[in-house]
Assembly symmetry: C2
Homo-oligomer: 212 residues x 2
């Protein structure tokens, strides 16, 4: 049975609040990558990624305001889940932090792109365009590929770290639907969605030269 992910889509404002929370979290992760970068060249390039990321967040916040609501109020119901996720995925080094942004934003962007198919036509396509912009992650791919080629031990360490991240990220994705009330905790309709997400994640890990 192929599940239509559109059936699981939250209501527009709930969706916007969740994406606003996640893009704000992603911005902070990108910004931490800039702060932790040991070389000026990496700082400079990652600052462009952070810029893309904070602009995404402000676009989503503007969508909430355009609907007459306050972004923070709309973000609050999902903030505890994001805070737990932040704590669970706390990186211990710059390379772990880079992989964290790459893996978690890859998974979550794709998850919310899928859910956008169930949104009204005046919101869904626009959110897909916004979330499909991967320009912030390209610098990370370059930096990690080069570092992993130079140091295979780092590669195997990061492969492990990547596996650890997947579980926490899928838990967050699931909690978004529980929070939105479109899924109950014993509902297995989410499983085929997760299978697809893990498939794309595996391809993204291969792009770094890592097995998922």
């Amino acid at each position: 049975m192929k599940v239509n992910i559109a059936d699981l889509s939250p209501a527009p404002l709930t969706y916007l609040g969740q994406v606003a929370s996640l893009t704000l979290e992603q911005f902070q992760q990108f910004a931490a990558c800039v702060i932790m970068a040991p070389q000026l060249l990496d700082k400079e390039q990652l600052s462009a990624s952070a810029g893309v990321s904070v602009a995404k967040h402000h676009n989503v916040a503007a969508e909430i305001r355009a609907r007459g609501e306050d972004p923070v109020t709309i973000m609050v119901p999902f903030s505890a889940a994001v805070k737990n996720f932040h704590t669970a995925t706390k990186a211990h080094s710059w390379h772990e932090k880079l992989l964290t942004v790459y893996v978690t934003s890859g998974l979550l962007d794709e998850f919310f792109i899928g859910l956008a198919s169930g949104l009204p036509k005046d919101l869904g396509p626009q959110m897909v365009t916004l979330l499909e912009d991967k320009s912030g992650r390209e610098t990370i791919v370059q930096i990690l590929r080069a570092a992993i080629e130079k140091d295979p031990q780092l590669g195997s360490h990061l492969a492990l770290w990547g596996r650890r991240l997947v579980g926490d990220t899928l838990l967050l994705a699931r909690s978004a639907l529980l929070n939105a009330g479109t899924l109950t905790s014993d509902d297995e309709r989410i499983e085929p969605v997760f299978t697809d997400l893990i498939g794309s994640h595996t391809r993204r890990m291969h792009e770094l030269g890592l097995t998922a």
Copy 2:
């Protein structure tokens, strides 16, 4: 004797490299304020400041590229001075971090606005406009004023921290001119410039309800 600060202006590319380094540092400071903010509302508002700040940096980097140069190469000569400054002004709490951004960006923006008067007409006025945008600092004023009103002890702690920051910031300003070769280490022409900067700094501290 009133010194004309235009006499101390670095060459255009040197100036752009220094401002690019400082705006990148300021972005990281704003971003750290977002990351450290305990409340979602403050995170959301400070993320707008961080967005303004990273856009400033990218505008300056674009000016360097428009002159056929690579921003990182042009930033390198000033990076050791900025790194020392970063270490010397390391904050120990969120409120200290907020005051650090407020005080140091206030002083340095004004210093480089003054120096812009000695730049060619196709660069100077544009840099003044860019550096005069204080919108990133307005949120900090609101947060710190409210916190200081509630907790006078925090106020006296921050007043001390502010005094400590001034010395390190003026040292960085001076090192920019030594680095540019427009000032020698025994040159006292910088003193009246510093006197003016400290005057504005005092007014900015009063805006928070603090004595400088």
